[in-house]
Symmetry: C2
Subunit: 441 residues, 2 copies
């Protein structure tokens, strides 16, 4: 029986999970594939830690370079994370005629456009299902399952840490800083949580989804990105009173003339979604990706967005897809970015000022007569109409919070209005701007 030999870079959490599947599910994999997949070698700087796995028969090394050039390896799995040395190792593996599978969203978001043609030129495949949505086979669903559709929108809860924090803030009425601290103690958030809570991780993933949906190049640097760190328990409560839940969403939409897409909208920010929508139910560290198409309507893919075992499940699904066509049938795989290479275009990103949204605004104002009148006059001046306005009770000498939901307007117009509003003597500088989406499933 034909055999595919795997080399693993990184025996951390996910690497251990991948090794575990390849060892424990060997028979199941062969029954599904008609070939064996064998873990031949693994590299990690730390070879001492007990991983609860019998790795006898696996060549262990602390030098990843060995694996990416080894003659007895057909497929390299990169689970080191980050940009470098991951990029160099994956590129070297591809140059040496080895397939590559990675869970590294940063790598694909930043260097995918150099790795895809390299893989194609060497006749090998590159898989990255685990880079978006953890264990959820959402890239396959978008790339293949919804392939007959012009994609109308992609919405994703793509970061488990943020969703865990927002869920806990909602359930316990707790403030951001307290929940973050608890999440760090539980190991759900990093000591430096910036990457997660400021939306960068979500932006990496969204840039991949958007490029795949619309046949464009991956443009991570152009994603409009805001995190969750300014949200208070009071905002979550205000949103709830209005019938919404706050989720950190990655959102991609097409713009153009009829069916021809010429610009792609990409944004990551805390978003109000209707409380009874499917995506609003996605709680704790779960992830979900909604893909809506002109024929399929709304679809949603739900599951664990991180963790040893779920992420390893997606990595091994890629290994199996590639093993099935290895060594001679790589041309028969669906193209990694859903469009054949020569049909992928360099679409512009919609400029931030042109994004159209409904907005949730939270202003802190001095409780004086006429303030609301002045604020609403400015909004009216910018032709921004209001769907709701709630003035909260005043707490002692503090300023009072005014929460507004607007109808649709452009980001540019809204920002112009806001800059005038914060110029009012009775309004404090710090305005919280959230965005609302109504077309979620």
């Amino acid at each position: 029986m034909n055999e595919v030999r795997v080399g693993l870079l990184g025996l951390g959490t996910i690497g251990t999970g991948v090794a575990r599947i390849l060892i424990e599910q060997q028979e199941l994999i062969s029954r599904r594939l008609g070939k064996n997949v064998r873990l031949v070698a693994a590299a990690d700087r730390d070879l001492k830690t007990e991983r609860g796995l019998d790795l006898s028969g696996v060549r262990l090394t602390d030098d990843a370079s060995d694996i990416v050039t080894a003659d007895d390896i057909d497929l390299v799995v990169e689970l080191i994370g980050g940009y470098e040395p991951a990029r160099t190792f994956v590129a070297t593996a591809l140059e040496n005629g080895k397939h590559a599978v990675t869970a590294n969203k940063a790598l694909i978001a930043k260097h995918g456009e150099e790795l895809f043609p390299l893989a194609a030129s060497k006749g090998v495949a590159i898989g990255f299902e685990a880079a978006v949505g953890g264990g959820i086979p959402c890239l396959k669903a978008l790339r293949e399952g919804c392939a007959a559709n012009a994609v109308e929108s992609v919405y994703g809860i793509l970061n488990g840490t943020c969703n865990f924090i927002l869920t806990k803030m909602e359930n316990e009425g707790a403030d951001y800083a307290d929940v973050l601290k608890e999440a760090q103690e539980l190991g759900y958030a990093e000591a430096d949580p910036t990457f997660d809570v400021e939306g960068i991780d979500t932006a990496h993933k969204l840039s991949i989804l958007a490029a795949m949906a619309y046949g464009s190049k991956i443009k991570f640097d152009e994603v409009f990105t805001e995190g969750i760190s300014k949200i208070t328990a009071a905002d979550i409560e205000s949103a709830s009173e209005l019938g919404y839940r706050i989720k950190l969403l990655g959102i991609a939409k097409p713009h153009g003339d009829g069916s021809v897409v010429d610009k792609v909208e990409m944004r990551v920010h805390p978003t109000l979604v209707p409380v009874n929508s499917q995506i609003a139910q996605v709680s704790d560290s779960y992830n979900a990706v909604q893909v809506s198409g002109d024929f399929v309507e709304h679809t949603m893919y739900f599951g664990r967005g991180a963790g040893e075992r779920p992420t390893a499940s997606a990595v091994v699904a890629d290994i199996m897809d590639i093993a099935r066509v290895s060594p001679d049938g790589v041309e028969y795989l669906a193209p990694p970015m859903a469009y054949v290479a020569e049909e992928r275009r360099d679409l512009q990103t919609l400029s931030v000022a042109d994004i159209e949204c409904e907005y949730y605004l939270r202003l802190m104002v001095k409780d004086k007569p006429g303030v609301i009148a002045s604020v609403t006059a400015i909004l009216a001046d910018h032709r921004i109409s209001l769907e709701a306005l709630n003035q909260k009770e005043r707490h002692a000498s503090h300023a009072v919070a005014v929460v507004m939901l607007t109808h649709e307007t452009t980001e540019g117009n809204l920002q112009a209005a806001i800059s005038r509003i914060v110029g009012l003597e009775a309004v404090e500088e710090d305005v919280l701007i959230l965005r609302k989406e109504s077309t979620v499933a």
Copy 2:
């Protein structure tokens, strides 16, 4: 550019949708595929009806036999439905070396086991994503996306008509017969709704999912099947008071010694699911499939389970997957039933008596002293313990409803207890038995 020529059997709702995609999205499909897919011919008994489509350039015929033998067709799409003549047409197409794609769950559930080897022997492919879950790419997710997992359970809301009726009964407190009538008037239910409401359609789909999950043969005849026609508005309310929603689920689970599966449990019945679970939120005519695996944990796939455009989306996804490997790379496709043919086993179906469940029981009893004591004594005698017991108010001279939730027991043991309970003079014959699942996502 290489081209794949498609012949369509049936220009009803879904057939029209498929023709519409192949015509309107021709350029998109080529950009994703690197080949053209062209609709060459279509057969329907009715060629007069205006379908809102420009079918010029498509050969129209009222004789399907022409298409399944035509030299200028590479792939036949069967959208006639039912067992015959669909089976004969698909078999003839395969025998003539044409790929086949179908949305026909009855056909695959009943005749798949004869069609799969026929396709393999002719070196052609057979696709049936649209047969389960309509537009949702759930078979691909199970077959490929979760391929690294031993599947621990499959749960599906697989029939839009039943889910529409149950949602409406819950939202309006209406009774089954009234909602069914309304659904029929709206065209959401057939004049003879038996196939849908008695769970047969769900059983067709479940038998395919179960066989794919566990590497067994499709055994539609062995699915334990109960429909929704006995559920009352009062049952939905009782379930709600206990924290549950009632959904018609198809359920498949493996049984065996360790990781070796030797029996498959398959059942379709109205099921109590926790009201805050993801699957409980799936409302109206939406479908969802939950796949839980030993590595991926819970995943769920959500979308439209029926309708012209969503179902056509799944049909064309299959066409594209097959077109990509046609004519010479069929061997590189994932096997249609997720395991290579020689590894698919003839696993036994778990006998109904051995199914273990938690139960919801609704008894109508005469309001006399000692009745509850007698009923609970019989349950205790069978070692069935209760999680909850609610006696409803009596309506005039009618018997009173008693609702019980039991802890886990076997179907055989429960039925033995029930047959003794209905033997009590104060208990009416008609006991409603629903089942409860707690491990949904």
